[in-house]
């Protein structure tokens, strides 16, 4: 019996029926920038200015089969892991700087359903709450099978 962190619990879905067909043509990447890791990006990089920014937990893009077309298209991106990344006070400052300095248009946060992932949402909520400027913030919770369980405005 596993009694540890649900985020680290081993699960094997190899017997699961594949959902839908693989795309007949190569799916185009919707990534419009580099870098993407939150420690590496500058919050005032030109691709964040006035942008619709997507901040996702690292695992989200692997769980969602259609991440590029459904979630990333038209947005500027940053990724982070609230469980493993160190120096998250820097993340707080960067999210705040997105809102105050880069004057981003909206912020969308995508996290996995595992409890430790909600730290990213709380961090973004705190940074946005402390920021002088306000913007609409949306969040989605994704399950390990690639379904969006919840999608709401903060």
């Amino acid at each position: 019996m596993f009694n540890g962190c649900p985020g680290s619990k081993t699960a094997d879905y190899r017997t699961k029926e594949p959902q839908g067909d693989a795309p007949a043509t190569k799916a185009a990447s919707q990534l419009r920038q580099w870098p993407i890791q939150l420690h590496l990006v500058s919050p005032v990089a030109p691709y964040y200015e006035g942008a619709d920014v997507l901040l996702t937990a690292d695992c989200v893009a692997y769980a969602l089969g259609n991440f590029h077309a459904d979630c990333l298209k038209g947005k500027s991106l940053a990724i982070a892991c609230p469980k493993l990344d160190s120096g998250q006070e820097v993340y707080y400052k960067k999210i705040r700087s997105w809102i105050e300095d880069a004057k981003i248009n909206t912020l969308t946060i995508m996290i996995m359903q595992v409890p430790c992932c909600s730290g990213l949402l709380r961090l973004a909520e705190k940074a946005a709450g402390d920021a002088d400027r306000k913007i609409p913030i949306k969040y989605s919770v994704v399950d390990v099978h690639g379904e969006i369980l919840k999608e709401e405005w903060l």
Binding site: D52, K75, N105, T106, T108, K134, I135, P136, K138, W153
Partner: protein, 267 residues
């Protein structure tokens, strides 16, 4: 059926009155609408009925219009699929709904204000002028201006649903003009008539916007548009911050006054 899908709903109800009762059964209140120029296809789309309910409604309407014919019921095209459940507004729409709550507090006080109104008394005349000032500055210049100058412009303004909202704003302004004219001549009856009509109009108008129009608009706005609306609303809020806080203070004082009078009357 295609012909009727593109016809104004009031005209259809006039031609086939039973369709009004059918729409009522689905909580679609076109019968009591002040304008009624929305097309049947738009009415079906904006009310966000689940597919099965939409088909059942359209079938019943088709049977009324063509009682002797088998009519194929067309599916009304939607840009965004229907979403069931509780309404969840985007932040800019939420701010408009919150402003509606403020306006509704004044609408709720109107019957009490009108009860013993006699504008030959200076206090009563000032009270009516203060209510009109609220309607003109908060409801009209602040809130309706956000809708007309910003929100509606994000949509095709030739859509009947948008035109009908403009029309209701125009009718509301007409009632305000009539109240001011009646104040000049001291015509208490006309003041009562137009403030009551304004209250009825706005009560229905707000319900339509909160429950039908804003959720439909939210379903059709892109994320970028939501951000842009939010930023532009924030600019308007900044511009009108003194007005908004002054008017909220006015409502509080009005609520105290009329609540006190009600209590006194009940003793």
């Amino acid at each position: 059926m295609e012909h009727y899908l593109n016809k104004g709903i009031k005209d259809i109800i006039l031609e086939f009155p039973e369709t009004g009762s059918i729409l009522n059964e689905y909580n679609i209140s076109c019968v009591s609408c002040n304008v009624g120029t929305c097309l049947l296809k738009d009415v079906v789309e904006v009310h966000n009925l689940p597919f099965e309910e939409e088909q059942a409604l359209m079938l019943r309407i088709a049977k009324v219009i063509y009682p002797d014919r088998q009519v194929k019921v067309p599916r009304v095209e939607r840009k965004v699929p229907a979403v069931a459940g509780e309404i969840k507004y985007s932040p800019p729409m939420r701010s408009l709904v919150d402003e509606h709550s403020v306006i509704k507090r004044v609408l709720a006080l109107i019957p009490g204000i009108l009860e013993d109104l006699n504008v030959s008394r200076e206090d009563d005349k000032k009270l009516v002028l203060d209510v009109i000032d609220f309607i003109r500055t908060y409801a009209d210049r602040y809130h309706h201006a956000k809708e007309e100058d910003i929100l509606f412009k994000a949509f095709d303004e030739d859509l009947e649903i948008v035109k009908s909202m403009h029309e209701e704003h125009r009718i509301g302004r007409g009632h305000v003009q009539a109240v001011l004219a009646a104040l000049e001549t001291g015509d208490n009856r006309s003041i009562r008539k137009h403030l009551t009509a304004y209250r009825q109009l706005l009560t229905g108008h707000i319900k339509k916007e909160d429950e039908i129009l804003y959720p439909w608009m939210d379903r059709n706005l892109s994320l970028s548009q939501v951000g842009e609306l939010f930023a532009r609303f924030a600019e308007t809020d900044k511009k009108f911050s003194d007005t908004a806080s002054r008017q909220k203070e006015f409502i509080r004082s009005l609520e105290e006054k009329f609540a006190c009078e009600e209590v006194t009357a009940n003793v």
